[in-house]
Symmetry: C2
Subunit: 131 residues, 2 copies
Amino acid sequence: MSGLSIGQVAERTGLSVHTLRFYEREGLLPQPVRRGAAGHRIYDEGDVDWLGVCIRLRASGMPLTDIRRYTELVRAGQGNEAERLEVLREHRERVLAQMRELDECLSLITHKVALYESRLGLRDHVPDCTP
Amino acid sequence: MSGLSIGQVAERTGLSVHTLRFYEREGLLPQPVRRGAAGHRIYDEGDVDWLGVCIRLRASGMPLTDIRRYTELVRAGQGNEAERLEVLREHRERVLAQMRELDECLSLITHKVALYESRLGLRDHVPDCTP
DNA sequence: GCTTGACCTAGAGTCGGCTCTAGATTCTAC
DNA sequence: GTAGAATCTAGAGCCGACTCTAGGTCAAGC
């Protein structure tokens, strides 16, 4: 039980094997993945954890180039914590902005949903809006 | 004051004139934009309002094809309100899911930010986390 | 009357992020 | 030992959403 194949990691992370190789090529892993005798990738838990972080960063809209930049900082080792922090803070601001924006969109959509529901008589108590 | 040029609409909406033409080609407007003598587009307030809705839908991740579908329903006129409602409800679900996801991402990021802040001594009271 | 700038169309190009293909090798199960 | 599945690399292809280009029309100001 000393490592996972790319297929197993794909299953765990939800990424495709194609994407896993692609991410590696793109420099999204701090260390190159260990290889077995035949050249097959062998992932360890640390790799999987890191990929989990990458997935979260992607899911929150961080572009691959920024993830790579952050990865490079981590790869470079201690001493650049301030830079890492900056990358993360900037991203957090963007995420917060995105959440605010989503909130506004949500209220528009919710408003429209309510409007159509009332128009279709799906609501007993129609809110005061133009019919 | 009977209408706006494409340039004025670009300025108001924040979309580029290219994008405005592109959206029209893609069928994102319920009616084709009115044209002046020289074939220039003349937008009215209704067009701008509709574009505002499109922008919100896009900003919340709705793909152009879905916006087009919704637009087609609106264009088709009364009688398909149930379908419109369905489109909107589905999208709302996706938005809510996206918000939940963003929330998770945010807590990861915030956690990491706190970690680096404490590592850099930017915090007086370090939360109980692995140093 | 001529330049400048906003507009027009059709279509090509770009960019990010995957996704797939081809052709070869290797592991697994029988 | 052999069939079938998984892996490898290099590189091409695809998709969504713009973004830009070329070549042309038109109106207004100088």
